[in-house]
């Protein structure tokens, strides 16, 4: 391992070292504040470590890892998101759990896993990253032991994640058995030589798709999402919705690119069907939910469907659209969960729609932030979500996928309904006294974070050019 390798892997090494050190820190002295501060520091340092890593791109560490602009961009995205989630976590856990320090340790580990995912170009690193991420998530999801739903959510996630890992692995084994390669390029070349998709590789891809699909929470592997979102602590739910899915998506893109996936129509059709099903199932099921966590879960299923549409376009605009959409979606999701976190009292999560009745009249700023986030999820102008959705539709039109786009439009309209419902609830006049009983904590750090997120959201919605240029530049490298 050369010096270049070290610098290139700087963010990853920093964060994983921080996980070990924070573990020792907990062993030496159990103090919430110290661990929290240390984790913040770790994220900041990892973010700084991206700068020297930029000197060497594109840099490949054979055979497992590749650090190019795409992966660095996503590394940065993951780190920033993790940082924001961390900022939102402190107050949430302060009152809730007697042993809160391990949360940060697990969060660091999970982030590390996602970072491994985005730089991997080999089944082995993919698998390692995925499992680091998953196993930390099991702990994170069930972290609030006292809460009755948390262990159920944890076990559900665990069994299903393990099941999907098994599928993923078996699929990988089949692909490996046929091609003799585990690195993406090697597989791509081998398939190219074969000239078509043999049955075994097809089966392998199908099984891998189950594993990947589970992590992304797309139909028909989405069943875990609402339960897990509901049972998990709010910051963890935010993590699952964003970083966990984002990491997997990035590796999926890389894989698809490297094996020239768009040359195989069969794959395209399968993914297209999944995309449509995800959009419909997500939006349709969200309509009847009363729990905002579940609504967000279903909405994230639908959003993955939207992203798949861009993914399927197979044009460069599509990849740009995904990147932009991911950024917008990360900001929005974390923001939405951030509102939930801020609005939760020290003992109870503010999770039912009813909890938000008349919120605008009591906590106008938070309500405005939440409105902005929901509108961004719905893709209404002035928000980043609008530009993101626009980008996706653009990619779709570019690729002439009229049917998929039509589905997307229909679903956007269905989706509107449940976002609007929450907004309407917030703006209801508080005529009945028997509304919410939750006394929100409204921590200062959380509020500031939310403000920043909103500013970012509107900024991207009004002036997206800088971000687009960055993404476009980055995509020149990968395609």
């Amino acid at each position: 391992m050369s010096f270049d390798d070290f610098l290139s892997l700087g963010p990853l090494i920093t964060l994983s070292a921080a996980a070990v050190i924070s573990m020792l820190l907990v062993a030496i002295r159990r103090n919430h504040r110290i661990t929290y501060a240390f984790s913040l520091l770790a994220y900041l340092m990892a973010m700084t470590a991206i700068i020297p890593a930029m000197l060497f791109i594109p840099h490949t560490i054979p055979p497992l890892l590749v650090i190019d602009e795409f992966s660095l961009f996503n590394t940065g995205l993951i780190l920033v998101s993790g940082f924001i989630i961390l900022l939102l976590s402190y107050n949430y856990f302060e009152e809730r759990e007697e042993r809160k320090e391990e949360y940060y340790l697990l969060l660091l580990l999970a982030t590390t896993g996602a970072m491994v995912l985005v730089i991997s170009r080999h089944f082995m690193s993919l698998f390692l990253g995925l499992e680091i991420l998953s196993i930390s998530l099991y702990g994170l999801i069930a972290y609030l032991r006292a809460r009755e739903r948390s262990d159920e959510a944890g076990i559900k996630y665990l069994i299903l994640a393990a099941l999907s890992s098994a599928f993923l692995l078996f699929g990988m084994a089949l692909v490996y058995a046929f091609t003799g390669h585990m690195d993406f390029n090697g597989i791509g070349d081998a398939l190219r030589q074969a000239g078509h998709l043999p049955v075994m590789v097809m089966a392998g891809f199908a099984m891998m798709l189950i594993g990947v699909g589970f992590k992304l929470g797309i139909v028909p592997f989405h069943m875990w999402a609402p339960d897990v979102y509901e049972g998990a602590p709010l910051p963890v739910a935010a993590f699952i919705a964003t970083i966990s899915k984002g990491g997997m998506l990035v590796v999926l893109i890389r894989f698809y690119q490297d094996i020239h996936g768009n040359e195989y129509t069969m794959l395209w059709w399968v993914l297209a069907i999944i995309a449509v099903a995800s959009m419909f199932a997500g939006n349709w099921l969200a309509l009847r939910q009363e729990n905002i966590k579940r609504i967000l879960a279903y909405s994230s299923i639908a959003h993955m469907g939207y992203i798949l549409v861009a993914f399927l376009s197979g044009v460069q605009t599509g990849l740009e659209a995904i990147s932009f959409y991911l950024v917008a979606y990360f900001i929005t999701s974390i923001g939405a969960f951030g509102v939930l976190i801020v609005m939760s009292s020290s003992v109870q999560d503010a999770e039912t729609v009813e909890d938000y009745r008349g919120m605008f009249w009591r906590y106008p700023w938070v309500a405005v932030v939440f409105t902005a986030m929901l509108l961004s999820l719905a893709g209404i102008p002035l928000t980043a979500g609008f530009i993101g959705k626009f980008y996706i539709v653009m990619a779709g039109v570019n690729a002439h996928m009229w049917f998929l786009l039509f589905m997307l439009v229909i679903n956007s309209v269905i989706g509107l309904y449940y976002y609007i419902r929450i907004i309407a609830m917030m703006f209801k006049l508080p005529d009945t006294g028997a509304g919410s009983v939750i006394k929100p904590a409204l921590p200062v750090a959380g509020n500031i974070t939310l403000m920043l997120l909103t500013a970012l959201l509107l900024g991207l919605g009004i002036y997206p050019t800088a971000m687009m240029q960055l993404i476009q530049q980055m995509m020149k490298m990968i395609v």
Partner: protein
């Protein structure tokens, strides 16, 4: 396929040995079944608990300590597996491999320290904890010395 097992030593002695061992064991058990006497008495079918009539189910619930040990084993034994694969090839991978394993082992040791400090490695009754609990009960006035020994015995057995 470049395995050494296939072309150097024959497998059949191993199989034969295993077969004979199995036959032997089953023979011994079978013989004793055939030869052993049978009788039926009043207390023949009862569990032996030092002469006291047993009460309650024998399926006891155990302290999570045992579970912890199992986990420690599972984790560290798997680590051992990884170390083993390095140990056989340490010559080939040289100092780089050594550095890698060192990092690995340092992480392992960090985990050990963490477990240690969190009391995962304290298997017996914790004297201080018992004392604290005892004092608390004394203060509440509900305790007497008998309770204290109870707790101690309970923990000492496991």
């Amino acid at each position: 396929m470049q395995s050494a097992v296939e072309n150097t030593i024959p497998v059949w002695p191993f199989v034969a040995y295993g077969g004979i061992v199995l036959i032997l064991v089953s023979l011994i058990l079978g013989l004793s079944y055939v030869l052993g006497q049978r009788h039926k008495d009043r207390a023949t079918g009862e569990a032996y608990e030092s002469g006291i009539v047993s009460t309650g189910s024998a399926r006891l619930r155990f302290p999570s300590q045992f579970y912890l040990i199992a986990m420690l084993f599972v984790i560290f034994d798997i680590e051992t597996v990884l170390i083993i694969s390095w140990a056989i090839a340490y010559q080939e991978v040289g100092w780089a491999g050594f550095a890698g394993v060192s990092v690995f082992i340092v992480i392992l040791l960090a985990v050990l320290i963490y477990e240690w400090r969190n009391g995962a490695l304290d298997f017996g009754p914790d004297g201080r904890k018992i004392l604290r609990a005892y004092k608390k009960r004394r203060k509440n006035g509900a305790a007497n010395l008998h309770d204290y020994t109870d707790i101690q015995q309970q923990q000492a057995v496991l």
